[in-house]
């Protein structure tokens, strides 16, 4: 949070303050820990040896420290890197394109001299109220547009969203009209006004909305599940989904048979720890980038929810 809660700063230290402190620190600390523990478990699992996990199950600290799982992931690094490349390119292109479309639209919809802006606004808002649903969209992508197994089927669904449009619009609406008017009087065309006057003023909005779009692309597995058939085209999250679930169905199968331990030990490659290492490889960058981008998300949520 940008603002600090200093308005609660000076309070007399009584018994009630002590009690509240204990509850506040205790509750917040517990919640924070609960949020962190599942992450710790994955990290710990990824650095454990397969035999230790099979024997004891997952824990909060690595058991019998081993890099075997990571070695296995990078036995065929091309597979992960291909998924990475797909996701990075998709995220970059999608975010750039999405920002461009959303900014132009939001700019026009916040221009007071545009008489049709309410009509167009409703045209967009209505799609949040009613939708054709899963099947018509599926048929549109697969049969009308024939985008099955095409990267466009991953790019298009996330490039524009009314929610992001609303966030963008509330930022742009905050720019004083006089500024745009004076640019107009100085002979500045619409396109130049947008790109040279408005755009520099809405950099926080570009960062916030850009990150919302980027996160949506980065975490998307749903569209890949619907439209992508060849495994070489999987984006990162769906790639992870596929790997994890193949390992899992295999695990379910053997855990139902009586001789499961024998079957597992006959496998030369780790399975559970492999899942963990793969998850870490897939999640790593977003977790590392997270401290830098958190404040933009906080801004976006506060603005978006008010007008969303």
């Amino acid at each position: 949070m940008a603002k600090e809660a200093t308005h609660l700063g000076k309070v007399k230290k009584g018994k009630d303050v002590m009690a509240l402190n204990i509850i506040a620190y205790g509750f917040t600390g517990l919640m924070a820990l609960l949020c962190l523990i599942p992450f710790l478990m994955i990290v710990a699992g990824s650095f454990s040896s397969e035999t230790a996990i099979t024997a004891n199950g997952f824990s909060l600290l690595p058991q019998d420290f081993s890099l075997e799982a990571y070695r296995t992931v990078f036995r065929e690094p091309i597979v992960v890197f291909r998924a990475y490349a797909t996701t990075i390119v998709l995220t970059a292109v999608g975010t750039a394109l999405g920002l461009l479309i959303q900014t132009m639209t939001a700019y026009v919809l916040s221009r007071r001299d545009f008489e049709w802006r309410n009509g167009f606004s409703f045209f967009f808002y209505f799609t949040t109220l009613f939708s054709g649903g899963l099947v018509p969209t599926f048929i549109l992508y697969t049969q009308t547009l024939r985008l099955q197994d095409n990267y466009l089927a991953l790019l298009l669904p996330l490039v524009f969203s009314v929610y992001n449009l609303l966030v963008m619009k509330s930022y742009i609406s905050a720019i004083p009209d006089s500024l745009v008017e004076s640019a107009r009087i100085d002979g500045c065309g619409e396109v130049r006004t947008l790109f040279q006057i408005v755009l520099p003023l809405i950099q926080p909005a570009l960062a916030t909305v850009g990150l919302f779009i980027a996160l949506a692309y980065w975490n998307d597995w749903y569209n890949a599940m619907l439209y992508i058939k060849s495994d070489t085209k999987y984006p990162l999250q769906y790639f992870l989904y596929q790997q994890v679930n193949n390992i899992e169905s295999y695990k379910k199968l053997i855990s139902n048979s009586a001789v499961n331990s024998a079957v597992v030990s006959s496998m030369s490659l780790p399975t559970q720890t492999l899942k963990m290492a793969l998850t870490i490889v897939v999640t790593g960058p977003i977790i590392l980038a997270f401290p830098m981008v958190q404040k933009y998300f906080v801004q976006g949520i506060t603005i978006g929810a008010v007008k969303g």
């Binding site: 600090e4 609660l8 899963l134």
Partner: protein, 310 residues
């Protein structure tokens, strides 16, 4: 005359706004193709779909798709599950988010506050695929952390993945878990917006810290709470497909307790290739959603005009 005049001014405006319209064009075309055109596809719900016939060439079959959906008893089950899950998510989620926001503002250690808030925000950034992995780590029968705890305490292992009754709690946990950091931001902002003089007055009147929370903070953030509550009620017929699919997957043993409208529609489409039935489920949901959102929006408008969408 009047008509001619009208079209004249329309053409004039078209000319005047040409740059605006050009800038709007990508979004308008996109919305027409990907949002409005699929709306016509709801006719699928009344057809017996065949690949060769497509949307328009397939024969009509009246209400057959709906009859099947309702008579099989699935309609009632998935609707009940969807609504009950959402009610639990909304109530417990709101409570937790407010508690976190209130307590965070009461914490004076800046570092502690920053770090714990960041930790709570972390789950928001990961995909549900990864949450699915985490759930397996914790609840798997053989390797799960919970079963490890239970056995080390001398108890019997619980096979969570074959025990449907456990899943409402597991799903509730992860839903709260993923949304707490994100959701509390709104309430934090609301608390920050409270005039400090109110607190000073309360202090002069001799209010203790708990009275300050329950008599000042909570009542002051009520408007925000009510708006956010109403807005989430608007989505009460929408199941979070991402969550249910990644945590439960195709585990049929759990369906009685975990199947929601969205997962059933997806299975009808992907697994049984029953386009008509899936479209019927989708239309059923779209109509329910439209009605609730419209009602909720009216209520929001009655409560506070500024927040209503239209």
């Amino acid at each position: 005359m009047k008509g001619k005049n009208g079209s004249n001014t329309f053409l004039k405006k078209l000319r005047k706004y040409r740059i605006y319209l050009l800038m709007l064009a990508p979004a308008v075309i996109y919305t027409l193709v990907f949002a409005y055109y699929p709306m016509t596809g709801i006719v699928m719900a009344f057809k017996k779909y065949s690949y060769s016939g497509g949307i328009w060439g397939s024969p009509w079959n009246g209400l057959e798709n709906f009859k099947f959906f309702f008579r099989s008893g699935q309609a009632g089950m998935v609707t009940r599950n969807t609504v009950l899950y959402n009610i639990a998510f909304i109530l417990v989620g709101t409570f937790t988010q407010i508690a976190v926001a209130v307590f965070l503002t009461e914490i004076h250690g800046k570092k502690f506050r920053k770090i714990s808030q960041s930790m709570m925000f972390l789950p928001y950034f990961i995909s549900w695929v990864i949450v699915g992995v985490m759930a397996f780590n914790i609840f798997s029968s053989d390797y799960g952390f919970v079963n490890r705890l239970i056995t080390s305490l001398g108890g019997e292992k619980i096979a969570f993945y074959t025990t449907p009754q456990a899943w409402p709690f597991i799903l509730l946990f992860f839903n709260i878990w993923k949304g707490v950091g994100y959701g509390s931001v709104m309430y934090l902002a609301a608390i920050m917006g409270i005039d400090t003089s109110v607190y000073e007055a309360a202090e002069i009147d001799g209010a203790n810290v708990f009275q300050r929370i329950f008599k000042v903070t909570i009542p002051m953030i009520m408007p925000t709470t009510i708006i956010l509550l109403l807005m989430s009620v608007g989505g009460i017929f929408k199941g979070n497909f991402d969550m249910f699919y990644n945590l439960v997957g195709n585990n049929g043993l759990l369906y009685n307790y975990t199947d929601v409208i969205d997962t059933l529609a997806m299975r009808a489409l992907i697994s049984s290739n029953d386009f008509g039935m899936s479209a019927a489920i989708g239309l059923f949901q779209s109509v329910l959603c439209f009605v609730t959102v419209t009602i909720v929006n009216k209520l929001v408008g009655l409560y506070d005009k500024d927040y209503a969408l239209f």
